[in-house]
């Protein structure tokens, strides 16, 4: 079998990769950037600069707020104007460091040349430490700090590194362009990750709708001659790039409920993360920019831009000619899992992968009608859940039943709502149930821990 895919569910939205021919081009630096201190999963970072400080590109401006945390670096050079709450794309205030841009002065330690550094450091610890210092987080969307993922808890062992180049979300092309244009760097990044995990085999998974990328990466691997590294062609199916689904497809192992991928011996990293790892380890360049696809049928100019972290969305949009008149929704991310933007003044974060414009016709939800019990949602659910049931249980606030029916396993991929012929907002309600169940599980765990400690005393 040449094409691999996961075992349960999935849907086939039209891939709409209309920006696939657009090469990644750097976006001019905005006059002012706003860098959030909470742009990863885990504790928000703590600012370590003061208002009025001069900063250079690549300089640390906030330190991790805990083990699960990340360094944040200035993406521009200039003066810190303020450290104050500012609304993110959902309108919620969070602390942002405002920097007025003056020139483009980089830290001297950063290697800005284009030479490819292929020599892999011997020390795995050193690689992971450099990843940590580079503020690398998972750029596939979850923004989980990468160094934490690379430090498996004692007792678990990594058997395979999977580089996720599926990009199964419709419209998005930034990973595809990265694979084409910076394939060498991604492959070296993959080799670094391999080394960091103790020299385990590595699979680069790419969906079949990117044949150029598949051919190119195969060529690069052959040229660079890394061992135990191969490209796996994946079937075009959403959510192929979901972490659990990808491990299932590549390794035929299913990550259990509430467990981490490492429990089945897998570490999954996105293509953009592999590139960031390369930059951080080989070039001393922390994450200061990321490629963002700006696309949509109603958007006149398709583009893949290299955007400095903290650039206001409005600035990017204005650079490409403003929000088109018939755009009804702006989405940060893909159409299946991206977040609708309520505040165009919000700034990009490390995990911003796309800005998508959809028209009213494409995105407006049709009125909800009765469930006809067709079971399409259950067929589509890649986690094997019954969304129609979870929807009802969530609405009835029956959290125990939600847990019994595994609401906490939902990965929020959106397949259920996508496929529901009655347009029932299944996922909207299941999220509520999932949140409640996860809260209950955490509360139980905390109570059990407290009881255990009390028993010790």
């Amino acid at each position: 079998m040449s094409k691999h895919t996961f075992s349960i569910g999935g849907v086939h939205p039209h891939d709409s990769k209309i920006s696939r021919e657009c090469a990644i081009q750097p976006l001019p630096i905005a006059p002012t950037v706003y860098i959030s201190v909470a742009q990863h999963i885990g504790a928000p970072s703590v600012p370590c600069v003061a208002v009025g400080d001069k900063v250079k590109v690549g300089q640390v401006i906030a330190q991790p707020g805990g083990f699960v945390g990340a360094f944040i670096h200035s993406s521009v050079s200039g003066t810190v104007k303020s450290i104050a709450p500012r609304a993110d794309l959902a309108g919620r205030p969070s602390t942002h460091i405002e920097i007025a841009v003056e020139g483009d002065e980089w830290l001297e330690s950063i290697d800005r040349t284009d030479t490819l550094v292929t020599a892999i450091p011997e020390d795995a610890k050193a690689i992971i430490d450099k990843v940590r210092l580079g503020g690398v987080v998972g750029l596939g969307g979850a923004t989980f700090p990468t160094h934490v993922k690379l430090s498996p808890p004692p007792g678990s062992k990594c058997e395979r590194v999977i580089i996720n180049g599926c990009e199964c979300e419709p419209y998005l092309t930034s990973d595809f362009r990265t694979l084409l244009e910076k394939g060498e760097q991604v492959v070296v990044g993959a080799a670094l990750l391999q080394k960091a995990m103790g020299g385990v085999p590595c699979t680069i998974a790419i969906e079949e709708n990117k044949p150029e990328a598949i051919a190119h990466i195969r060529e690069v691997i052959a040229k660079l001659g890394y061992k135990d590294m191969d490209v796996m062609v994946m079937k075009m199916m959403y959510p192929q790039g979901g972490e659990k689904q990808l491990i299932d497809a590549v390794m035929h192992r299913q990550v259990g409920s509430g467990a981490l991928p490492i429990s089945v011996g897998a570490v999954v990293q996105n293509v953009a993360t592999a590139l960031a790892v390369y930059d951080a380890v080989q070039k001393n360049k922390p994450i200061i920019d990321n490629s963002v696809t700006v696309t949509g049928e109603c958007f006149p100019k398709q583009a893949n831009l290299l955007v400095r972290v903290g650039t206001p969305l409005q600035y990017i949009i204005d650079f490409l000619g403003g929000v088109p008149a018939d755009a009804a929704k702006v989405i940060s991310g893909g159409p299946m899992m991206g977040r609708a933007v309520a505040n165009l003044q919000a700034a990009t974060v490390k995990g911003t992968g796309a800005l998508l414009f959809l028209t009213e016709k494409q995105t407006r939800r049709a009125p909800e009608s009765n469930c006809i019990r067709c079971g399409k949602c259950a067929d589509a659910c890649p986690m094997g859940l019954e969304p129609f049931l979870l929807n009802k249980l969530s609405k009835a606030k029956d959290w125990d039943a939600c847990e019994a029916n595994a609401a906490q396993d939902c990965i929020e991929c959106g397949c259920c709502l996508y496929s529901c012929p009655a347009q029932i907002p299944l996922l909207d309600n299941i999220r509520v149930g999932k949140g409640a169940v996860l809260g209950a599980i955490r509360a139980r765990a905390a109570a059990a821990k407290a009881a255990a400690e009390a028993a010790k005393k």
């Binding site: 939205p13 299913q254 409920s257 008149a325 977040r339 009608s369 079971g375 996508y418 496929s419």
Partner: protein, 325 residues
């Protein structure tokens, strides 16, 4: 630029809607409708018209005047109920009987439960069975097909009815089935309700639905397989008392029931194995009623009985959850 829309993900939706699914079913029924009109003539057209019109009107009136909700006739499900009801009654049925059937189907079996998706039993079948037990004279007077321009309706029993009658009078099955060739059965040359007569047209609709991925074939296939297996066993034990498998496949409302009634989303299980068990149950009950029941035909009853256990099947047969045992 007007105000931006904001909603939780996902932001796009597949093109499939309740209406498109129901329209597909209507399209799949068109060959059978054309066939039945061609064989039975304008009277069948009248039956179809009355049935569809009364189902749609009733649903509209009930949503508007009793439930005071937005009308749901736009989803085409009432049209399907109407067509199925019409295909289930003889073309000689008077219009008012059909109207009563529509009242029971739409009014009682569907809207009382809350409309589309809430009903436990297939509405068209409930209507049909109600008529069968309330107006047995009309419902069992099957006339031989006369063609589109036929004038004289010749009354006669359906093949299944004839055999039951014959068996009671002591005749053997072989003698009785000799009157019917498989070709006649397949190409609708026999008496019976409209939907019972043209297996081929119904199968064409079924293939269309499967290709459009509206229904999955396993319920239908498991019904047909069970009917074949069950009748094969009985037939090989005593061919003089029990009819053969091919005859059982092609007669009565089996094909119509298996393709269009049992596969109704609302009243069938969702999972693969639930569907298989559901189908096996229908097939087996059908054969038991045909062989041992007092009615010559048992598909409607079998489907209604199995409809009742669908919630249980949905509970028992769930698909495996990811990463769980």
């Amino acid at each position: 630029m007007s105000k931006l829309l904001v909603s939780p993900s996902p932001h796009i939706h597949s093109k499939v809607s309740t209406k498109s699914l129901m329209l597909d079913v209507v399209i799949a029924l068109i060959p059978a409708v054309i066939c039945s009109v061609a064989f039975y003539g304008w009277q069948e057209l009248l039956v179809l018209g009355v049935s569809v019109a009364s189902c749609v009107l009733l649903e509209w009136a009930i949503t508007k005047y009793m439930l005071k909700q937005p009308s749901t006739i736009g989803d085409w499900s009432a049209v399907i109920t109407g067509i199925l009801l019409a295909l289930n009654v003889p073309y000689t049925t008077p219009w008012w009987v059909i109207f009563i059937g529509a009242v029971v189907a739409v009014g009682v079996a569907k809207m009382t439960f809350g409309g589309l998706g809430q009903n436990i039993w297939n509405p068209a079948l409930v209507g049909r069975v109600f008529l069968l037990v309330s107006f047995p004279t009309y419902m069992t007077t099957w006339s031989q097909p006369q063609g589109l321009f036929g004038v004289d309706a010749v009354s006669g029993p359906t093949p299944l009815g004839a055999i039951q009658e014959g068996l009671l009078q002591g005749a053997s099955v072989q003698d009785l089935t000799a009157a019917y060739s498989y070709k006649d059965l397949l190409f609708a040359n026999l008496g019976g309700s409209a939907g019972e007569v043209c297996a081929l047209a119904l199968l064409a609709g079924f293939v269309y639905l499967c290709c459009r991925k509206v229904i999955k074939p396993w319920i239908t296939l498991s019904i047909l397989c069970t009917v074949v297996v069950t009748s094969l066993i009985f037939w090989s034990v005593d061919p003089t008392r029990f009819t053969d498998p091919v005859f059982n496949l092609l007669t009565g409302g089996l094909i119509l029931g298996a393709c269009f009634m049992a596969t109704d989303y609302v009243t069938s299980p969702m999972s693969l194995w639930g569907g298989v068990v559901f189908g096996v149950g229908i097939g087996f009950l059908t054969m038991m009623i045909r062989y041992f029941g007092s009615y010559p035909e048992g598909v409607s009853f079998a489907i209604l009985i199995m409809n009742s256990v669908v919630p249980l099947l949905n509970m028992w047969f769930k698909q495996k959850k990811f990463g769980r045992k």
